[in-house]
């Protein structure tokens, strides 16, 4: 009897402690691209779990089946624009078999957030993502440094069929494809606040607080591109090269 009870109890527990497909990223410090006066030169990141690879079309299909409100034809406009999941053949059909294991793209921040929540996870913060993405490749071709991988990727147009997850490189944290496959949503992408530069008629609605923004490394063109990209996103936008992976607290 007691065994049955325990079994039921276990079955009822949410999958909060299911870290399958994730790797524990040890806490540490990194030097972010964007600095503010109040943010020291280094940012501390606590230990967290991160998905080893980006969420795939196949994985996202399971989510949409379980949560019909996220079907292409049903999702409200404020949560995803009209290109949402446009690479799929229909609401519940991917169609092109070649992209089942490719990262799901044309996905809004709201949809990505809902998927992670459904998994008992969350999106990584920008600091977490940048910290994890800064780790060196462990299985790249000899002499191929991270910056080279990124710049070569920027240099090439997106392939007609997005390759499967795990097809680029693995980094020293054990995470795949942080660069070279897709751009990825982060929880707080809207914390990239333009600095005091004047746009048009000197409009700068970004005040309050006394931070000053500067960049840590002006040569870091690759990072600059990521931050600039994020600054111009809105949460309902869907973009063909933009997907996501989930994270989780360690506690």
């Amino acid at each position: 009897m007691k065994t049955v009870f325990t079994f039921i109890l276990l079955a009822l527990l949410p999958h909060q402690h299911d870290h399958s497909g994730m790797v524990k990223i040890p806490g540490g410090e990194f030097r972010p691209f964007l600095l503010s006066e109040r943010k020291n030169r280094k940012v501390k990141v606590h230990s967290f779990y991160l998905d080893i690879h980006a969420v795939t079309n196949g994985e996202f299909l399971a989510f949409v089946k379980a949560n019909p409100q996220w079907q292409r034809s049903r999702v409200p406009d404020i949560f995803a624009d009209s290109h949402y999941l446009k690479q799929w053949a229909a609401d519940l059909e991917i169609g092109d078999g070649r992209i089942i294991n490719s990262p799901v793209t044309n996905i809004s921040w709201f949809a990505a957030t809902a998927y992670c929540k459904w998994k008992g996870k969350r999106l990584p913060t920008m600091d977490e993502w940048e910290y994890a993405a800064g780790a060196a490749p462990v299985n790249a071709k000899p002499g191929q440094q991270l910056s080279r991988i990124i710049l070569e990727w920027y240099d090439h147009p997106n392939p007609a069929v997005l390759p499967a997850v795990g097809s680029t490189y693995k980094n020293s944290f054990g995470v795949y494809d942080m660069h070279g496959l897709i751009w990825e949503w982060v929880e707080d992408f809207n914390s990239v606040i333009p600095g005091g530069e004047n746009r048009g008629a000197g409009a700068n609605p970004f005040v309050c607080g006394a931070g000053s923004l500067g960049t840590a490394n002006k040569e870091d063109y690759a990072a600059y591109m990521r931050y600039a990209f994020r600054e111009n996103l809105q949460a309902a936008y869907t973009v063909s090269g933009l997907g996501f992976r989930c994270a989780q607290d360690t506690e």
Partner: protein, 210 residues
């Protein structure tokens, strides 16, 4: 593929814009005022499904009552995101909202509500919001909301408010006041710290009659 082109178009335009960036670190001027106002009507979003109140989740108000955003339906709402430890910009936003309230015709006043949502999940609990409410002398038309970190971020995304928590617990954030119709659709956003009372009053009066 078209999306690709759009994405790269965006990136290229970002790069073009960035040419104007000063090479030295630029300062977020606290409280820059000159010409810092743009008022825009948000068009383009479709009528259907445009309500911000579709965002699920329980919030807590200054009286420690829990409520969902959809309970804000039925009145025109003037909304801003703030934090109560904010030195300058947030009190200004509240002042601007009060100015709108004061300028509204009597016939309209009771059909309008004011909502302040805090960025500060840690410090702005119901007790602190209640203190702020009293300090600012806010009347019963005002609703102050406290939420969890994730739902605050979600709402900021819907309103297109940018914010960043600083190490001292305060926030850098964009300053906007939003006017929502009775169903929760954003009709107008007033950006900046210069009052646009007349504009807001016109919009609100029109929406109340609808």
């Amino acid at each position: 593929m078209k999306n690709n082109i759009i994405a790269w178009g965006v990136i290229i335009s970002i790069m073009a814009l960035s040419c104007h960036k000063a090479p030295a670190p630029t300062r977020l001027s606290c409280c820059a005022k000159d010409g810092a106002v743009t008022a825009s009507s948000l068009t383009g979003s479709l009528e259907a499904n445009a309500s911000v109140y579709q965002l699920p989740g329980e919030w807590t108000d200054a009286h420690n009552h829990s409520l969902e955003l959809k309970e804000l339906k039925g009145r025109v709402r003037v909304v801003a995101m703030i934090f109560t430890h904010c030195g300058y910009a947030c009190p200004r936003l509240v002042q601007d909202m009060k100015a709108i309230e004061d300028a509204l015709p009597v016939a309209v006043k009771n059909d309008v509500g004011y909502v302040l949502v805090s960025f500060d999940a840690e410090r702005d609990d119901a007790a602190q919001l209640s203190r702020f409410d009293a300090e600012q002398g806010l009347d019963s038309h005002w609703t102050l909301l406290h939420g969890k970190r994730g739902q605050i971020r979600e709402l900021s995304m819907l309103l297109n408010v940018k914010y960043q928590q600083l190490e001292d617990g305060n926030f850098n954030h964009s300053n906007s006041i939003f006017i929502l119709d009775k169903k929760g659709k954003i009709i107008q956003s007033i950006d900046g710290l210069e009052p646009q009372t007349g504009l807001a009053v016109n919009t609100i009066s029109r929406l109340v009659k609808n």
